[in-house]
Point group: C2
């Protein structure tokens, strides 16, 4: 088994934190996104979607989506549970992981990819080239701030994003917040719940991934 | 248990088809999206995200995301398996369901919501108002066509989108294609594999949902 990774990129960081929580170590191959290695013919032969992370199984099958990769590891090593336990808890974790992805992670991606000078013509990940849309960068920034406010209110009486334990919903939210911070998109000054949560989950050894 | 639904809307249709495959019948409450009922104070008290579907459990807990709702039903009634079976198959189903959602379903949503006269100021679902971005409508249309081409090639030697059985990846792709067709975004003339697959999955009783 092997993971195609990029140590500086947010999507594969979701998998790295997940593996850290599970205490699973697997060999990795670094793909240099800044040098455009993911767009090379060699890498497109590995993943036509031209994205990382990619998990290559021992039988050669490749899984090319961060959440699908995490789910694979949850199945082969269930403990500690990061997708919840029992039908209701699992549904709540999935709901919040997807909400954090849709309103947080993808909104940061919109803000970043539609504005970064190095990503002109590459406003979306994937094999096709799309022009940047400056209005979409601005909308992304608005959405990220709305997401921070919503999550801050949600965390008023909760230790974790979903359920009673650390889960993949916390991982997605943590990676989103740290990525946004690199883009100088920080939570509002009064987002005390979000800051407390962030300090707590950032102190976990897995967060160093 | 009760499902907040809208019989004409694509997101809850994913759940309706899923329930049809499982042969599960539950009471539904129709939410009139065209009349803006989802934006009313009464419905926002049920779901602050102002979207359908919403599954209300007997203990009052509400699940507000289509895929999380489907996963809940997979857990309480595993057969027939619609998320795959075994770690590898499940990962592949999740990968393709997410890819169909990201490159298909959300692309149709972009094309639709950024252009429909009735959705001015409502370019995204959810509680916040965002202006339409005409460039995004156009980009959405390009992405949908790219998605159709990719799925058509993928289906050249496959009966289903992922794995050896009908799955939630087929459901997401079917709902995407039917929604796109309503917007006059149809597969390319030579997309024979996609048409064959569409005829086959549309003949399932669940597809009438």
């Amino acid at each position: 088994m092997k993971l195609y990774d990029c140590a500086t990129a947010p999507s594969p960081r979701r998998v790295r934190i997940f593996l850290g929580e599970k205490k699973i170590a697997i060999p990795t191959t670094q793909v240099d996104l800044r040098a455009g290695e993911h767009l090379s013919a060699a890498f497109r032969a590995i993943n036509p979607d031209a994205t990382v992370p990619v998990l290559e199984l021992d039988n050669g099958v490749r899984i090319t989506d961060a959440v699908a990769i995490c789910q694979y590891f949850e199945d082969i090593q269930p403990e500690p549970r990061l997708f919840g336990e029992g039908a209701e808890d699992k549904a709540i974790v999935t709901e919040w992981q997807r909400l954090a992805e849709r309103d947080g992670f993808y909104a940061v991606m919109e803000a970043f990819r539609n504005a970064a000078p190095g990503l002109k013509g590459r406003a979306l990940p994937g094999p096709a080239d799309y022009a940047q849309i400056p209005e979409l960068a601005q909308r992304g920034r608005s959405r990220v701030l709305a997401f921070f406010k919503m999550i801050d209110a949600h965390l008023a009486d909760r230790e974790f994003i979903a359920g009673l334990r650390f889960s993949i919903a916390d991982i997605t939210t943590l990676v989103t917040l740290d990525w946004a911070t690199r883009l100088k998109l920080t939570p509002p000054a009064n987002a005390d719940n979000l800051r407390r949560w962030h300090a707590s989950v950032s102190a976990r050894p897995s967060a160093a991934a």
